[in-house]
Symmetry: D2
Subunit: 334 residues, 4 copies
């Protein structure tokens, strides 16, 4: 028996025991090392996103392979792995088209399936990606959110010299800043927080502004009259998104990366007149994890600034406390 | 001096005289043969879309080259041409990227520039496309709207066996039906009109339904449980569009082809969960005209059923009358 | 024990016994119903493509699920399935990018792994695709080669009205003819065989010619002076391919679909001047099988004309005899 | 009357007089400021690429607008411009599809049309791109070759973390190094010249090697066993290109950027087995010039190291002398 953090009903978590299975066939048994908690987890915690209770929380985490099934080929005991929280069946039509992230029977650990805030987990080898020792477990869980950013960038196109606007400079926004810069873009970041604006600058943003500075005239000045080829929203704030259409270049792309149960109200004539593309992105694919791992191990994307609290799994206590005063990700160590 | 139909203020048209210029340099003088009138023209007429008055109306029309400037290379007197109503400057950044349809200084004949409901017009050769004699002037003006459908299909991707839903079966919807079928899709058309449903079937739709039959359960039955890879809206009806998201396949594409000044209200969580692409399309490019001409001359797209009234330019009288009892396009002969 | 057809050394086959395994976990046991034999099989038989001997031959085949492992979800006893002959490991970097057809440890049944000319085979569920009863076992094995044609067409782009040239009108060529037509293309087929030219016409080719008629002047006439947007070679004949560059439209695509150990000699200046794309395609992906199955069951691609001999597995005798007088695929029934 | 450098027959140049036209309509009269000379010019000079003699040489050059036609909109007297050497007619089918670089009647200044090594030239406004004063005329002519590199990169896809191999580190190779780095790639450069290897490192290459070090085992070591996602050849050396196929990753892309009248011999089985894409690229489009100008003015691409000789147009004398001891581009000032 081992221990896991369960959400027993909205806003109530409890550490409870569960049985650890033996890894069979192509499975590995992973001892968790560290995990992080994101906005989706908070929405699940709050009950805004419904799950079946009790549910083990968490979908961002790394661990150590300590045992493996007889068909496992590439992984070995002692390997450090990031776990892919997407469950998929490999046989539904969407999986067969390679869209594992959209699997009909699929889901996310910590939402449709029990998650990673536990001592041990058994996963199939194809959902555990080896990470090099050089990546510290203090930041490694953030490879999962990074993989979702990588995924989104494969659905849009950023060319050198594109003007890219990033709305919101939390963990996801700051990853988008870095990935956009890495593709040669000119990046403007928007946030209400002076600290986040400062960090965005450190991580490469060419310019940072507050939402109230966000108007067409000002933007035209900033972008040399060219508006934005790509706008990436991480806030899910309907008003901010709607306003951003005004500074989207004709022919441009709007990536809706924030997740929300809100409605989005869009002006049809403007969408037509600008001939735009609006894209959403869900989760990530195995190849996106490989890319995310390479980006971090090559030091092309920096994760250190995106962690703002470190705590032991055994000392979490009131889960609510975890987010108090936390600007970025809290990291939980096992 | 020649005559043109001017919109002098919302809902008031008048035939007035204007001076016909000589074609210079790369220009041709075209004597109009026939023209058609579309939804955008009605919106301009009604004042829903504002223009500078007085404005010569119309942007769908064909004519005969009767004189040419000294730099004209390919066109000759006697050639039948469809006129590209998009005005563009060739030198703004968007033109230089090949997006002439989004030219910063650009616009549409009949909206930002004087249109085609007149006896003669001077246009640069690069905006007049020769059409073969085999295409009758009774349908030829519809090559322009067809070019906009061709344009939109280049912004999305339809593969053989895709399930495609077409909302609205007017002229644009029926062109989308044909172009989707031509790419190997299974096409379901939606309209309130029995007659339009019947014509859609004749033009290749695999199945036609009324909006009230339009629900997820029914659609799953119809599409063998697979929902729609692509949904094309030509109605600009916000409710219908919003509902259609329910039957969009994860990973699918929604093409907003209808033009409206309405707001569109979309559920953000569903957009995220389905990982969708929403695309708008504006006008068309020169290459789209070439394609549209080939499609009609090869008989791959049929335009005959999309015309429902024929009238002489000289007998139009009350412009309002033109649309009375007109299901599809009225054609005006000069 | 069951029986299989082994290649024991180049040009020598022998029916020998082998042990049939029980299906475990996600595996199904399939009783073979029918199979077909292709050019790659002949190259393996001749020793032109080397394998480890003895090797069970064959990679195109359908069968009946007669037993299943406890983790199998979608398939049931009695289901008719086409088997995916591509073996892949799901964990190498190429698999993780979704390129299972290029798996580092992967290979083809009948080439790197024992093949389908046997009574029973055990395969994982994710490599067995259910086919509807409406598809006869007399043609069903051809779904595999069709899936490779579907795969190739996803690597290139065929738009309505494209001029497409198909070199070689064997089974693969005739599938390319049908798939190109299905996407709205104008198709010209090239073959030396009068019978194949005739069948190509029946299956939709707009025009068929012999290689000796194949010259630029003639082609310009046939294509209304426009040359070919796409050329698809299925012959692997280096001279024919090289000559075809002359009739490729600037900006066009050459798909090399034939497989050969020959060298291809290409004129660098012409390639530069025409700004071309040359694409090869290997095998197929799971999603391509789904598409191929749909195309056949919807009657969008016809396979009946592509079979020219039917024989019982038990009466094969001299394997060499199988290809005597066989224009298209021989089908073997178990 | 003004003066131009004419190639009067292979290997013989002569400065001769020509008449300067007045700019009409949409034309501007440009006084040349500086120009550079490239490999294609040398091939024309040598007679390897044939032209009609006498021919004014040169296609890379910048100048000052000193007079303009009445229809010119954006340019003014005193503007510094880079001239697009591609002549196109705007009305052929390829132009209408936006492929101006492949215009049927088109050609290159200095090859099919008289070039830029002259005091004054008249060009249409749409082929003269304003450059900011911050770009020195000592490097500005190189914006044209840079635009062709930008063009080529739009025909392929480089994602962050791709391994990219650049064969040849002359002017074009060093531009490819910079543009690949700008898109987040890991870049290995190959050259025989120690100096070029050194400069490649300075301009961002992660690793540089000599051709003799170029073998599969070594490369696997260098790329962490991953081979190259993209190989860009600028040498047009058939042996080097053929060998490079061995280190191309399955699913990879080979960009043939070098221009040559040689034949290229490729192994068909390897091409099939690796499922590759081979792409050629010709010249550039107007949008590519805008991008090239932005890249230089933003200091994202550095041109200073790509110039190795400066000379006055009036002192050229024996044209052959221009290339003596010139590793990169000679720049000619007027």
């Amino acid at each position: 028996m081992a221990k896991a953090l369960y959400l027993v009903q909205p806003k109530i978590t409890k550490i409870m025991e569960y049985k650890v299975d033996k890894p069979k066939n192509n499975e590995v048994l992973v001892k968790m090392l560290s995990a992080s908690v994101c906005e989706t987890d908070w929405k699940i915690f709050e009950g805004e996103v419904k799950v079946r209770y009790p549910r083990v929380m968490g979908h961002e985490g790394v661990g150590l392979v300590i045992e493996k099934g007889e068909e496992v080929r590439d992984l070995n005991e002692g390997d450090k792995v990031i776990i892919d929280p997407n469950v998929y069946d490999n046989t539904c039509p969407l999986c067969r088209e390679g869209k594992f992230n959209l699997c009909i029977r699929g889901g996310l650990l910590g939402r449709e399936y029990d998650g990673l805030l536990r001592e041990y987990i058994v996963v199939p080898e194809y959902r555990a990606y080896k990470i090099p020792d050089s990546i510290s477990i203090e930041v490694a869980p953030l490879i999962q959110p990074l993989s979702t950013v990588v995924h989104a960038h494969k659905l849009i196109s950023i060319k050198p010299n594109y003007n890219v606007l990033i709305l919101g400079l939390g963990v996801m926004g700051l990853m988008h800043v870095q990935l956009s810069k890495l593709q040669g873009a000119n990046v403007i970041g928007v946030s209400r927080s002076d600290n986040k604006l400062k960090i965005a600058r450190e991580l490469g943003a060419d310019l940072v502004i507050k939402p109230e500075e966000f108007n067409e005239v000002k933007i035209k000045e900033l972008t040399n009259n060219e508006l934005f080829d790509v706008i990436i929203d991480t806030t899910a704030d309907p008003d901010l998104i709607r306003n951003s259409i005004n500074v989207l270049r004709p022919g441009g792309t709007l990536l809706l990366f924030g997740i929300s149960t809100n409605n989005l109200n869009l002006p049809m004539y403007d969408l037509y007149y600008k001939e735009v593309k609006i894209v959403t992105s869900r989760s990530s694919l195995p190849g996106d994890f490989l890319d995310a791992i390479r980006l971090v191990s090559n030091n092309k994307v920096k994760l250190e600034r995106l962690v703002s609290k470190r705590i032991s799994f055994w000392e979490i206590g009131d889960f609510q406390e975890l987010r108090k005063g936390v600007e970025f990700r809290p990291i939980i160590f096992f």
